[in-house]
Amino acid sequence: MQAVPGTRPGPRFVPPSGLGWLVLVLMMGMLWRPAAAAETPSFEQALSGLATSNFKEKERAVGDVIAVRHANTRVVLNALLEGNLYYRKSDRRVFIGTAQDANLQLQDPVTLSPAGTTEPSEYSKITTNNQLRKTLKSALASFDLADADPQVRLAAVSEMLRSLDADGVSILRAREGTEPDEAVREAIRTGLAIADLDGEDAAIRLAAVEHLKGSLNPEVFNRLTAIVTPTDAGSYAEPDEKVRSAARVALASIERWRSLFGTLETLFFGMSLGSVLVLSAIGLAITFGVMGVINMAHGELMMLGAYTTYVVQLLMPQHIGASVLVAIPVAFVVAGGVGVAIERGIVRFLYGRPLETLLATFGVSLVLQQLVRDIFTANNRPVETPQWMAGSLQVNEALSITYNRLYVVLFMVIVFVILQLVLKRTSLGLKVRAVAQNRAMAKSMGVRTEWVDALTFGLGSGIAGVAGVALSQLTNVGPNLGQSYIIDSFMVVVFGGVGNLWGTLIGGMSLGVVNQVLEPYAGAVLAKILVLIALILFIQRRPRGLFPQKGRAAEG
């Protein structure tokens, strides 16, 4: 057998032919039976082989279970994969079991009839490991090739392509003719073409290369590269020059695409990092930029938002999917409320003394940190990722975009737009801007500046809480969450220009992108250091940031 993608060599693995037999028989309508069938053990015997803690023995037993092609093979394999297969410690008999409260409900794997409910202590679960699970999935996938749903079939083909052997190839070849769905057929063809690269006939190999020309599958790239790369002796593994030059052409186009998508990927990474920066800085842009208050507790307000998400999930464990959406307004209210309390209790006595607000709010941040430590312990809290935020959007085989990052970018845009609308289109926004520009004048025009101050601070803090909800999906929820973002947030605001939300947006985004562009060359740490140094130098050139405030408001 040629080195086929993903197959792991060595004797530990399930004999591939066993899987092949089963699949062949099932899929091709029992065209032939293996001559060695007589040597295969009975289904019961094969099952009893599973009752062991040794993984090598288990793999052998799984191979047997597959090979006997009993009607219940699929049920048993599935139970094993799900962790629902047990054996009785006394006589090593294997059962399918489902946990019911503290008890175990048993089912006989041969007859599928119920075998009573019992104490779990006399039974031992048959555990699986990664290799075993991969074998199981592959075996189960071959069942799915005949599924009615084309999506399931497509997944089954991809699963089989992960570890394709000669038997798998013949199954796929048989399926290719009958497969009605175009996408599934295309996936099968790619797999077959990769297999054809090892064909005896140069014409077949050439056709395979031609077929693979536009494919971005990494395996295709590896195989084509192997074709055009000379061995140490200077000769080629591929004897035919025509095949080689076709491979070169195909590779060149694949590489062009790959580098294009690589750039797009970096851009997206930068934007997602930038979005996190903007989200964490935008609340600060309001309290710091509009009000001139240096709120060192800003990070802790984000932390409160993240903990709010955790509490909301505790309260609605059945609806994790919705919990994050529910947490957004709740976090806004919680963090905003704490923000108003900070403003009324401390900050309002310190207007016009920005450096003193720094010290006082730093004290607040310490207190808040210790508070969550006392309430939630110093340990990180597990915040679950809802199903709709997990995984990634596979644009093509070279580019995939993770959903959680995508949602963070979208979320940032929404928050930004809403904030702009509040500031530009509402009477509160008008008053906020008025107070920011000229407090005394606004006051004499009848604006209740105290009230506006409290609400503005509450708004900025609430946004911080909302950012915390987003962060809970990306990083740890623990007492130190805030500290790790506070410096970055200040950098973004100062870089963008105080008092300008657009500056914060553009500042955060460009810092994110620059960081990600530098990272592959300089490494994560050096990239960050370079960005910081660049920032320090930039502030020297433009002391008031990218978009400086103009006019009177700029003084002070």
Partner: protein, 429 residues
């Protein structure tokens, strides 16, 4: 300004007095120092260890203490601040005059207190897996040395999983740096080419893993089975595993074996993206032995929380504490020199059914277990060394240390160079 004068004088005088005073106390107890951070970044891990020691002390006192004396815990908080570790260690040894100290987690905290323990001839039990390259007369290392964790894990990946291409990813500090140096040398000795090894370091608390995970994915798509050996520390793990899960790198394709992720860390994580990934330790809470079941029961009763987990460094403290008790009873004194001499060769049962023995290099014999993460935050043991592995203070795979040996019984030296026949470091003449 008179008030200030009086107040200032008083406060400074009070400060000096308080600092000097607290030393003298009744001597009919044996004092046990506990030097674990209770605040700051390391509090997450270290608070549990403080509670473990307190539990062990309480238990020992129920049995009547040692040598007819009760044990008394002296708990201090070094607050995850490294110079403060040295200060508090000095306080324990000089002011409180404790007989033994259980403490430290990070390497830097151990390095910070090391001169203090050597100068004052103290006794420290250090319970965490570490990078090795150290053996002090005054320290007993009850955690794993690299050959008791990293090398067996790599063997498992190589022989049982069939990994051919290696990513060594770690946080940029001394433990990952040293471990990866050792592993790199080990892999190359096993015939792995340099282009099949990718080494990556990230700062503490790194949270933006998109680029690195994408690189690992690309590295792993080159047609050879790829595995990741992770020495990523602490808080950086959650975003790392989340990113792995989101970029659809499953444990079946690219398994990650971690040396710093245990039950305690997993209890603060949504474990879904981690299921199937590996960890190498010398103890798992899920190990089914009577000793372990009893320990878990006692721990949960002590901490009054039926959900609390146990972990590897806790077991290390249990072993260390029991060894110390045994040594004191054997030596019939808490005198540090005598206890140190008695310690070597002491055997106590560990919690996984084996026996831990103190070796002349002040390290332990330990079993090595590889486990796969389950959805409930526990591990399924998938592989285990046949016997016990003796801890090796000086790695045989680093050019600087392959000729160095530690032996506190015959050589009386923690770093004896077998080539130059010289002893440097602590017993330098």
């Amino acid at each position: 300004m008179n008030k200030f004068k009086v107040g200032g004088l008083a406060s400074i005088a009070a400060a000096v007095a308080l600092l000097a005073a607290t030393a003298a106390q009744a001597a009919d107890t044996i004092k046990v120092g506990v030097l674990h951070s209770l605040s700051g970044t390391m509090a997450i891990s270290e608070t549990t260890l403080k509670d473990t020691v307190l539990m062990l002390i309480e238990e020992q006192n129920k049995k009547g203490g040692i040598l007819g004396k009760k044990l008394e815990a002296v708990v201090v908080d070094p607050a995850s601040n490294w110079p403060l570790f040295a200060e508090k260690a000095e306080q324990l040894l000089v002011k409180d005059k404790v007989s033994v100290v259980f403490g430290c987690w990070t390497s830097v905290s151990r390095k910070s207190v090391l001169p203090v323990f050597e100068k004052n001839n103290g006794l420290l039990f250090y319970p965490v897996q570490y990078e090795g390259e150290e053996s002090s007369k005054n320290v007993f290392y009850t955690g794993a040395a690299p050959n008791q964790q990293a090398i067996p894990a790599v063997d498992y990946l190589m022989n049982d999983v069939g990994v051919k291409r290696w990513v060594l990813a770690g946080t940029d500090y001394v433990y990952p740096r040293t471990t990866n140096k050792i592993l790199e040398a080990y892999l190359k000795a096993k015939g792995v080419k340099s282009e099949d090894i990718m080494i990556n370091y990230t700062p503490f608390g790194h949270s933006d893993w998109q680029r690195i995970v994408a690189d690992i994915k690309k590295f792993g798509s080159a047609g050879k089975k790829t595995g990741v050996v992770s020495t990523i520390n602490g808080d950086a793990n959650v975003p790392f595993y989340k990113e792995l899960g989101n970029q659809k790198i499953s444990a079946e394709d690219i398994p990650v074996v971690a040396f710093s992720v245990g039950e305690e860390e997993l209890s603060g994580i949504d474990t879904k993206p981690l299921v199937g990934h590996l960890a190498a330790w010398n103890y798992f809470m899920s190990v089914d032995t009577p000793a372990n079941a009893e320990f878990i029961k006692k721990w949960r009763a002590f901490i009054k929380n039926n959900k609390r987990v146990t972990n590897d460094p806790m077991e290390a403290h249990v072993i260390g504490f029991n060894m110390w008790v045994k040594a004191v009873e054997k030596a019939k004194t808490t005198d540090v020199n005598k206890v140190i001499d008695t310690m070597v060769g002491i055997e106590v049962p560990n919690l996984t059914g084996g026996v831990a023995k103190m070796l002349p290099n002040h390290h332990l014999t330990k079993p090595v277990l590889i486990g796969e993460v389950r959805a409930d935050g526990q591990f399924d043991t998938v592989w285990q060394t046949q016997g016990l592995v003796p801890g090796d203070a000086w790695s045989d795979f680093l050019p600087g240390s392959k000729d160095i040996e530690a032996d506190w019984v015959t050589l009386k030296c923690g770093n004896y160079n077998t080539k130059t026949k010289k002893c440097s470091g602590q017993n330098y003449e």
